[in-house]
Symmetry: C2
Subunit: 612 residues, 2 copies
């Protein structure tokens, strides 16, 4: 790069700084000093290195940029404004309720692929995007800008390890080592050597730079793509860099400048600031990804009613079946694929399967990354281990990521492995994710049909599968729309409506048979769609059973099926009696545990009798 270009980039960096200060001061909140440390890096990336179409942030072969240190959002917005995508005046609306320029980036903005702001998530998502580039045969690169504070997060090292194992030389992690965290200095300050050893040990090529020296930054960036390792750029920076009274000073995290302070700061920056208008940003290579159309239909099912099949195995069958006609589908698992049955897909389509090893945060992050590039990723592990990735799932909800999560081994019905392996909070956890879909099938047919629904539905969907084999109760042509429910038993004079799902649905059917012998009729509903719930179906049934409902679930009493039904129908005068796991369970045989925790046919019979 020639000298004048460097001067221009330095000027653009200062212009970005001015935007960040101006916007946060106008907003009265924000993190200007965290923007200033990274301004030179961002100027170099956006106006001296990355290949993208600034008029079309969705171009499939644009280089991707993830601002993992999401609190530097104003810097990202300023870069896209200077690149010409946003009117510069809009920056003044930062953090206003009427503006999509939120406090931390969200995909309400077209140039944001994923929400950031919960630190440590960007690199794993970047791994997913980099893998997706290979899958699609595209040459875009994925740049992830992290703070130094955030690389204390374990999620960063999970992702770093997988990137090293997969030799992702199309992934670039940049660490803005500004030394100062939110509440105090980081543990390592400007000790770049320690960070270097870490990334190298995790299989990365590492370059150190002075993060305020544009020549050095560009020089290092010119080596992007060399070798077969991911590249980590450790940038020694100063928080508040470029403004004398902010630079490297404690006590400035997350504080906007007063108007006077902002004026003083800007006065320091203005003399060298330059607009980026007219900078030629290199276009992405003219490559396009293969077409991956939504299939007109999936191949048919061939189960027999009464056949014993675990829903977890039906999940594997579904994925292997659907994968043949739906090239959008990719899958990943965290070293449990022989238990979740994701291995049925992995064996059939090894090129479309990513082994994430025992690293559930990365499992979800990789799925999110794939989803941003047009794939429909199915990520599976034991239901309980998705708790390890709850923050990632929460933020995927904010990103409106099109990911499909499948948690196996739910509830006490897993048996002898004991409470650490039992998913007993997954319904509560997944229901409380923005716009999530939560599904819980009871047999192989409904499982397979719901996996189809997940693939066809835009957004975050969760499916809960069980360990034990259960009988097929539905015909192969039955349909299972999201938000529906099946009324399996119902007749005039029924005394109570029993709402169940998964293994307890079969207990409810047994209970219905036994109660019928006593002359007590119950309506039995398969609530396979926990969220959205088929409230109308349950309400109609309840109205015919004196408004009496019993829910029964292999889940803790809090936040699951019972709370969902009560929370939606209590306002209508429906009385919901919950059967659920109400204490910390222990190891034992599945049937023993269903009995001990009061969610088997006996418990249903007893409760119905008491209400009849």
């Amino acid at each position: 790069m020639i000298e004048t270009d460097l001067e221009l980039l330095r000027g653009i960096a200062n212009q970005l700084r001015i935007h960040c200060i101006t916007a946060t001061t106008a907003a009265g909140s924000g993190h200007p000093t965290s923007c200033l440390s990274a301004a030179d890096l961002v100027a170099a990336l956006f106006f001296g290195h990355m290949r993208f179409d600034p008029k079309n942030p969705k171009h499939p072969n644009n280089d991707r940029f993830i601002l993992s240190k999401g609190h530097a959002a104003p810097l990202l917005y300023a870069a896209w404004a200077e690149a010409g995508f946003l009117p510069v005046e809009q920056l003044g609306q930062l953090r206003q309720i009427t503006s999509d320029l939120e406090g931390h980036p969200t995909p309400r903005l077209p140039f944001v692929d994923v929400a950031t702001g919960s630190l440590g998530q960007g690199l794993g998502i970047g791994v997913g995007m980099a893998l997706a580039a290979r899958q699609n045969g595209l040459d875009y690169r994925t740049y992830v800008l992290m703070g130094d504070g955030e690389i204390a997060e374990g999620a960063v090292w999970e992702a770093a390890s997988l990137a090293g194992v997969r030799k992702l030389n199309n992934l670039i992690g940049i660490v803005d080592v500004n030394r100062l965290g939110q509440s105090e200095a980081t543990a390592f300050g400007h000790d770049l050597a320690t960070y270097r050893r870490r990334f190298e040990a995790f299989g990365w090529r590492v370059e150190d730079v002075d993060g305020h020296d544009l020549e050095e930054i560009l020089e290092v960036l010119s080596g992007v793509g060399l070798g077969d390792q991911p590249l980590c750029i450790l940038a020694r920076t100063y928080k508040g860099a470029g403004v004398s009274f902010l630079q490297d000073k404690d006590g400035w995290h997350g504080k906007p400048l007063s108007k006077d302070e902002a004026a003083r700061a800007i006065a320091e920056l203005v003399p060298t600031a330059r607009s980026a208008a007219g900078v030629q940003i290199p276009a992405p290579s003219p490559m396009t990804p293969p077409e991956r159309p939504v299939p007109a239909a999936y191949p048919p099912l061939h189960y027999q009613v009464g056949q014993m099949v675990a829903t977890r195995e039906a999940y594997g069958n579904a994925l292997a079946r659907m994968g043949e006609v739906d090239q959008r589908i990719v899958a990943m698992d965290g070293d449990t694929k022989n238990s979740t049955f994701a291995e049925k897909f992995a064996k059939k389509f090894p090129d479309r399967y990513t082994e994430c090893y025992i690293a559930e945060q990365t499992l979800v992050a990789v799925a999110v990354g794939f989803s941003t590039r047009g794939f429909v990723p199915f990520a599976s592990t034991f239901a309980c281990f998705f708790t390890r990735a709850y923050d990632h799932i929460r933020v995927a909800g904010i990103s409106r990521a099109n990911i499909k999560l499948v948690g196996s081994h739910v509830g006490v019905s897993i048996g002898e492995d004991g409470p650490s392996q039992m998913g007993l909070e997954d319904l509560a956890m997944m229901r409380a994710v923005a716009d999530s879909v939560v599904l819980y099938p009871c047999d192989a047919v409904s499982t397979e049909k719901l996996v189809e629904q997940m693939a066809l539905r835009q957004g975050l969907c969760y499916l809960r599968t069980s360990r034990p084999k259960t009988p097929v109760i539905y015909n192969n042509d039955e349909t299972f729309p999201i938000g529906g429910a099946k009324v399996l038993r119902q007749k005039e004079g029924d005394r109570v409506t029993v709402v169940a799902a998964g293994v307890t649905l079969h207990e409810a059917l047994k209970a219905a048979d036994r109660l019928a012998q006593e002359g007590i009729g119950i309506t039995v509903i398969d609530a396979y769609s926990i969220k959205p719930l088929a409230a109308d179906v349950i309400l109609n049934a309840a109205r015919r059973t004196r408004n009496l409902v019993v829910t029964v679930e292999d889940h803790y009493a809090e936040g699951g099926l019972g709370d969902a039904v009560a929370g939606e129908l209590s306002a209508q005068g429906v009385q919901v009696h919950k059967l659920a796991v109400r204490e910390l369970p222990r190891s034992g045989k599945p049937d023993e545990l269903l009995a001990r925790y009061g969610i088997n046919a006996d418990a249903i019979v007893a409760r119905v009798r008491a209400l009849a």
Copy 2:
């Protein structure tokens, strides 16, 4: 160690192997081959190195042993049986519902400090135990046995980093590198050099050993405590070691042997197996920790009604106030202490504060570790970031750990920072933890009193605090028992009972004033204890308002206050109308957001009018 001793230890290792095979075959499930790889390591630790009283696993200065690879539970049980604590015959009851020898270890057994089985958690808990040793002036050491598969978990590297930073030379991590994961080989196989570089980069001293060579193992163990770094022992092992047809073979993970296979395996082991009876296990040093009595009372409060104080700041005030008289209290935070106000404690009692940096899994794990050694740890971060540690919290519930979690910045009322920083699922998440307590105060007085209650209560407690300042509404001498609620407005003829907590309680009071002007009376209840819920108080009030209840909460509609009230009271015929955040929120001013998402006084007034 002399040659005969080595022979004895080798024999004990094989005896442990026999126990593991026998027990898992009898149980018909379990992970015998994962036990066999670690049998020599465990034999060396328990019968050739660690200092502990085998008759008293609770001795305060016993060396601690965490089986982080919890699926090797039979090996742990066998070791304590051979040490004389358990009758050997009990091993035959493995995994039975009548036995505490569960599929994965839980503290139902006195020699288990923490539940394991969700991989990657042991090391962080070990960091907490090692820090607690220093705090208590004890010389016990903490040994954490991990699998190689599990060190893919980011939580391991968070913990490793903090151990390095704190130079915990009383912490020993042992990695059983048996090469085979559950579903396939690990990414690194027997490449110990890669693992060495990683641990060294994270500040550890590393030793490689042949994990089946007792002489090498003991030699390395003799160096425990040297230097000022934590020690990592990388043990090259074989899954199924010691049995010809199991050793280093694929397809044996999590499978018990048939009776015939077990007989063949045991026949190979019997000739060299030796009982550990008679082995002299070194006693712990005769040191005792300082007394840390429960205080008779905490110093009084000095708020004025009407004073504006954020509940998050009241939390900091409480901790600083209580810390003076309660030496059990320690605190930790994840680089948010200036926002959660944990810094008030950290500044006053720097020796009792642990900075965990931006690593929430380690934050919770360190708290769990301290709790096992008699401390009352308070761990704080933004409520939303506890989602990062949900698996740790879930397992802490299984451990019945005495930890206190405090999540700040809940709900849309944080304002401009936007959805990634808003705790909107924490009530759902925390309610669904076994035996948890979930608290949500609305003012400074109730906050401080609830922090006292948390310190006095055994078990996992969560307190939710808010960012905005709210007026003090309670007198300093008011009491707030866990499981209680306050009826703040109530009179004859009230039309509706409004149940609120936190910021929405103040909205409910405003609504009550406005509705009173229209001649509509409402009962207002402060449901500061979300779990256990004061169902009786709410029910009594509801009975006097035509069974009509409106709940209002700064939380998603799923799994929070509304579901809790509906889930408990719908069966009693109470009709619960929920006001809650029902869509993905955005940045804006707190008042704008409370209005937009329908949880402010206007929304309450409108709903009550519709019901009145």
